[in-house]
Amino acid sequence: MTSERQKLSRRRFVEATSAATIFGLAGCTGDGSSDGGDGGGDGGDGGGDGGNGTSTSGGSSTTVTHWSGFFDNPNAGEWRDWYVQEASDQYNVEVETSAFSYADMRQKYLTGAKTGTPDIIEGVLSHVNEYAVAGLIEPIGDWAESLDYYDDFLQGGINSVTWNDQLWALPMKGNGRTFFYRTDVFEEMGWEDGPAEGAEEFLEQMSTITNSKDGMHGYHNTTKKGQVRAFQEWISHVYKHEDSVFELNNGEWSVTPSAETFGEIFEWFYAKPYLETDAANPDARNGDWRANDIGYLQGNYACVPCGPWLLGMQEEAQDPETAGNNIEQTATATISHTPNASDPKGTYLETEANMINANSENPEAAREALGIHASPESVKMIGEKDPSYLQPPPFGSVESSIEREDRMEIKTAFENGKGLAFISWGQPRTALYESIQQVIYDEKDPYTAGEDLHAEFQDIASNLEA
C-alpha cells in the first residue's frame, strides 16, 4: 500500500513536472504571440520618450543598438569606446555595438528590421537604396540639417544618399573608382602620363606590357559571378556615358543607357582584353576581387580598377615586402573610356553610410548617437587608425590622407562619382553577371550581350514601383 502510494506520488510528481513544462512552453508561445502587444506598449513608451526628446533629461539611460561592419576591426577599439562614451556622456544614451559582414547585416536587417533592432545600421550604397525602398529606414534630412557640421559634408557623399528630395543616411566613408597602376612599369614603357584615357590606346598599352614584362599582364578586372565588385567596375564604365542606369520619369522607370552603350562597354573592357588582345590574362577569368587586388600587389598586373583600400592591403598579400614596394610605386588615374563616352571623368561612387531604423523604438536617441558617430571628429579619429576613411574624408574640414600628387585622382573621382538609383539592384546585378560571363567566355558577342542585357533591364524597369 505504501509502495503503491509512493508510486502514485512519483507519478504525480512526473505529471506535475510535465504539466508545468507544457504550460511553460505555452507561456513561451503566448509571449511570442502577444509580443506585438507588449512590444507595442514598450514601443509606445519609447516612442513617447523619443517624441518628447527627453532621452537626455531622464535619470535612466536609453539603450540603442548599432550594427556596423567595422566595430570588430582590431583598429577600431579606441574609436568605438570613444563613441560609446560620448553618447553616454552627452545624451545619456547607451550604445550597444555589434559587428557583422555587410552581406550578413543586409540579410538580417531585411528580415528583422521590423523588430526595431538595430536602431542604427551601417551599409553600402546599395543597402541604403534597398532599405529606403523597403521603408525600413527613416528620412533624416530635417534632423541632419540641424547638425552643426552638416554643411561640412562634401556634396557628392550627400547626393549619393539622397532620394526623392530626402536624405536617408549620413556618409562616413566614400570612394570613387579609379585605375591604380604601377608607375615604374609605365615609366619603363615611356608612358609617364600613366594609362591612356581612350580605351583603344589603353588596351594597346596593356598588351604591350603583357608582351614585354615576364609574368605580368597589363590589365585585370573582376569577373567572378555574383561579385558586387564586378558590378561596381562595370557601372563605372557606364557612368562615363550616362548619369544613371535607371531613371524615374513621370512616375515610370526606364533604362537610360542604350543597348549600344552596353555593347560598347562589353566590347572594350571585357571582350577585347580577354579574347582579342593580350591586355588581360584569359586564364584569370572568373577571378574575384581578391585575385584582382592581391594579384596587383604581387606584381601580376600593371593596372587594375580599384578603390583606395588597395593601398592598405600590404599585409594581406602573400609577400608583404613585394606588396609594399608595389604600393610605393602605385599611382592613380581616371578609368579609361570607350570611344563614345560623353563624360570621361564619370565613375562609380561607393558610400558607406549609417541609417536610422524606421521601426526604432528610440529614434531620438538613435539620432543623437548617430550625430556623434558620423561627426567630423569621429571620422578624424578612425581615420588615424584606418586611413581609408580619409581617402578622401566625407568632410571638407577634415584633412585628406592623400598626399601624393599622383594619387589625387582618388579625390577627383569622389567629386565626380555617381551613386545608384534607389531601386533594389539584386535583379539587374544578376542579369549583368550572366552577360559578363557570356562575353568573357566568348559565348555571346558583346553587342548581342548588350542588347540582351538592355532588354532584361527594361523588363526589370517595367516592374519597378515608382
Partner: protein, 306 residues
C-alpha cells in the same frame, strides 16, 4: 459459452485493454508533447511555411505583401534554363562526390584499421580536412590555384605544364569543386566505416578463414554486410549534405563560370536573397526537398530489401 457471450467478452477485453493503454500512455504522451511542440515549431513550421510561400509572389523587401499565384512558380521552373543546369549540376556533384567519398573512405578505413606503429597519429591527421572550417578550406584552395602566385600553378609552371585560374575554367571548375568535397569528406567516411569495421567480431573472420574464404571473399561476405547500416547512414547523410551544400561553391566559384557550377542551393540563395524573389526561391527549395525525400525513401527501402 455462446458466441454472443464470447463476442461480449472480447469487446470487454478490448475496452479494458484500451483503457489500460490510455491510463498508462497518457503520461508518456504528456512527456513527449513538449518535444513534439518544439519539433513542430523548429522543423515543421518553417517547412510548411516555405511550401506555402512557394505559392505566392513575394519580395524580401516587402514580405508583408504577397500575391497568391498557385503553381505559377513551378511552371516557371520548367522553362528556367539556369534551374535546369543547377539541377543537373546538383545531381552530378552529389552522385560523383559521394561515390568517390565512399570508395576512398572505405579504402582509407581499411588502412586506418591496421594496427601499425603511428596509426593513432595518422588517424588524427586524417581528420584535419574534415575539421577545417569551409571558409578556410576554400580560401586555401583559392590561393593555391591563383594564376601566377598559387603554389599549384607555380609547380605546374616549373614542370612546364599549363597554368591557369582553375576555378575560371568552364571544363575544370566542377571537377575541382568535386575534388574539394571529396578531400573534405572522405576522411569522415573513413572514420565512421573504420569504427563500424572494428565492431565486427573477429570470430566471423576466423570462421570464414577456416571455411577457406580468401581475404577478398572475407571482405565481400563479412565486412561489407556488417558495415551496411553505417554505410547507409553515411551515404544518406552525405547525399543530403552535398545536395544542399552552399558554402563551398558560393565561396569558390560563385556558381560560374557560365553557370557550370551553379547548384540548387546557390541558386535558391541568389533568387531569394540577392534578387529578393522569396516565392520563387521557396519553390526551388521545395523542389530540393521533394528530391531528397524521394531519394531517402527509395534508398532506405532498397537497403532494407537488400
Amino acid at each position: 459459452m455462446t458466441q454472443s457471450q464470447t463476442q461480449k467478452s472480447r469487446i470487454r477485453l478490448f475496452v479494458e485493454e484500451f483503457r489500460s493503454i490510455q491510463r498508462e500512455t497518457w503520461l508518456g504522451m504528456g512527456l513527449i508533447l513538449p518535444g513534439v511542440i518544439m519539433v513542430s515549431l523548429i522543423v515543421l513550421y518553417p517547412t510548411v511555411r516555405g511550401i506555402w510561400m512557394s505559392f505566392f509572389e513575394k519580395s524580401l523587401l516587402f514580405p508583408q505583401q504577397a500575391t497568391w499565384i498557385g503553381l505559377e512558380h513551378y511552371r516557371e521552373l520548367l522553362s528556367d534554363s539556369i534551374f535546369h543546369q543547377a539541377l543537373w549540376n546538383s545531381i552530378l556533384l552529389t552522385s560523383v562526390a559521394v561515390t568517390l567519398e565512399y570508395l576512398l573512405g572505405l579504402g582509407l578505413a581499411i588502412v586506418l584499421k591496421r594496427k601499425v606503429p603511428g596509426i593513432q597519429l595518422f588517424r588524427s591527421v586524417t581528420m584535419v580536412s574534415w575539421v577545417l572550417p569551409v571558409i578556410v578550406m576554400v580560401t586555401i584552395f583559392n590561393f593555391m590555384i591563383q594564376p601566377q602566385f598559387g603554389v599549384v600553378n607555380i609547380i605546374l609552371d616549373n614542370l612546364g605544364l599549363p597554368t591557369r585560374f582553375w576555378f575560371g575554367d568552364p571544363d575544370l571548375a566542377m571537377p575541382i569543386v568535386i575534388f574539394m568535397h571529396v578531400w573534405r569528406n572522405a576522411p569522415f567516411f573513413a572514420i565512421a566505416l573504420m569504427a563500424s569495421m572494428m565492431s565486427i567480431p573477429n570470430d566471423l573472420y576466423e570462421a570464414a578463414s577456416m571455411d577457406g574464404a580468401t581475404p577478398l571473399q572475407q571482405f565481400r561476405h563479412v565486412t561489407l554486410p556488417n558495415i551496411a547500416y553505417t554505410s547507409m547512414i553515411m551515404v544518406v547523410l552525405h547525399v543530403i549534405y552535398t545536395f544542399n551544400n552552399f558554402d563551398i561553391i558560393f565561396l569558390s566559384t560563385g556558381g560560374g563560370p557560365l553557370n557550370k557550377t551553379e547548384v540548387l542551393a546557390t541558386y535558391v540563395y541568389k533568387t531569394a536573397f540577392v534578387q529578393n524573389m522569396l516565392g520563387y526561391g521557396a519553390a526551388i527549395g521545395v523542389t530540393m526537398l521533394l528530391i531528397m525525400l524521394v531519394f531517402t525513401a527509395v534508398y532506405v527501402k532498397l537497403e532494407d530489401t537488400g
